[in-house]
Symmetry: C2
Subunit: 309 residues, 2 copies
Amino acid sequence: MALVCDGALRILDQTLLPHEEKWIEIRSPDDMIREIQRLGVRGAPLIGVAAALALAQYAESGADQTQLKNAAQKISAARPTAVNLMAAVNRLAPLADNPKRFIAEAEAIFEEDVALCEAMAKRASDFIQDGDRILTHCNTGALATVGVGTALGAIRKAHESGKKIHVFVDETRPLLQGSRLTAWELGKLGIGYSLVCDNMAGALMARGEVRKVFVGADRIARNGDVANKIGTYPLAVLAKYHSIPFYVVAPKSTLDPDCGSGADIPIEIRDGDEVRFGKSPRNCEVWNPAFDVTPRSLISAIILDDRIL
Amino acid sequence: MALVCDGALRILDQTLLPHEEKWIEIRSPDDMIREIQRLGVRGAPLIGVAAALALAQYAESGADQTQLKNAAQKISAARPTAVNLMAAVNRLAPLADNPKRFIAEAEAIFEEDVALCEAMAKRASDFIQDGDRILTHCNTGALATVGVGTALGAIRKAHESGKKIHVFVDETRPLLQGSRLTAWELGKLGIGYSLVCDNMAGALMARGEVRKVFVGADRIARNGDVANKIGTYPLAVLAKYHSIPFYVVAPKSTLDPDCGSGADIPIEIRDGDEVRFGKSPRNCEVWNPAFDVTPRSLISAIILDDRIL
């Protein structure tokens, strides 16, 4: 859990993990927008819940209908790719004239995320066999949701049901959600793992070390194309080349009926300093997309909370 | 040029580039072994030359035949994958009874590297067209050789002949030879480039941004399989999937007739701290291979100094 709402609304600063656990109090929608943008709070499902709770807090503090609608519009634009953010805001915005219902709906979004995680993690864990060696990318666990997570939730459920699993964790450049967050979560859960750089996954597969790939999703288009953390697409190509099953685990709220295909999904381009990080020539040109699109043809199954695509 | 031998033998400390240009004086074979192992001096052709010159310096200082042979054996084992190191030592070792010929042979190895680079870079540059957008990995330029380089030498020759080129530079985790060294070289040469993380190359290819891939090699087996910097193999798989030509540029000294296939090439596994670098949970398990093997079937052409395979 990386977000609590017990009187105060607080988020666990994910930029400082695993070496520091610092909670940041959120006092306004603008506070939450800043944390969403700098990835203090991150993970497609979590930023949807975080936005909803920040708006509910604003409603509780007495914001009027116009203020709520403006804040909702602003927070839904904080990051462009994960559809969960817009989906949460779109559920709340029509209730802006009724603070009580507005707040109750935000609480429902929070509670639903826990239930969605349970359902999809349980369903996806059936795809994991005893002895499996699973490659995963980015962070899709308890830090990315308010429940057990998506892809990492499935791994956790399989582990808790007694299956022996080894996980290969892609470090996930540039912001290292794999080495900082997924490794930390796996350690806490007592699940064995090996950390690798993103560019080592191919060699692992060539050696026959990887039995399955499990990833999450930030947005799923109508045709089944999936936007997810940059580096997902090359893993899917490699998995196909090596005949390794490639699974996407996500809640149904990640489906976007308004996107016909992956080409319609807006991809966030982030600051080049995340890639340079003091190592490259200063101010050199950088291309830093935060996500890529994996076509449906490379995906063995998309495992939702309520069905399998 | 990252190595000079003008009275003193000195190497440019490649671990500090691009922000600091510090030259380290080498006074013994052990000094050079240490620098080879910590990648103060790196690049398959360069470490062959560096080993030869360190042994020549030892011969000049009066080392006897036994001392020379022992030092040769020790330095040839400094790193296991790049065959250039063993090839250089194997040329010198039989001359250990004749210091004058021993030293002359080391000087010949140095001078040959310059000529080999010129020849292969010129030959490989014919594969580059005006307007090409080329992806490269690791560093294969003047810092990796004592000449113009291998793959990056070809890009340089094409640029110098007036072809307009844009280069996509893979940062090359874990040690960032792309963002630290290749970006620095391209900047000095005035060749336009964009830096990307290794896991972004797939998205670049999917967008049609990459016309060709050029990489170097650390060892080429008899069947044409190529060992090169970790991350090369997934690029080759991605290039094949996107029907993008994938070229390997190397001197003939990188051919190893004693290796039947890539499976026979020893792959160096390096310290996990290179991957952790203070970001992951302390002491977490890491798999850190420095190289991977690309099968011949994924390579469009291997361009040597004297012929094309």
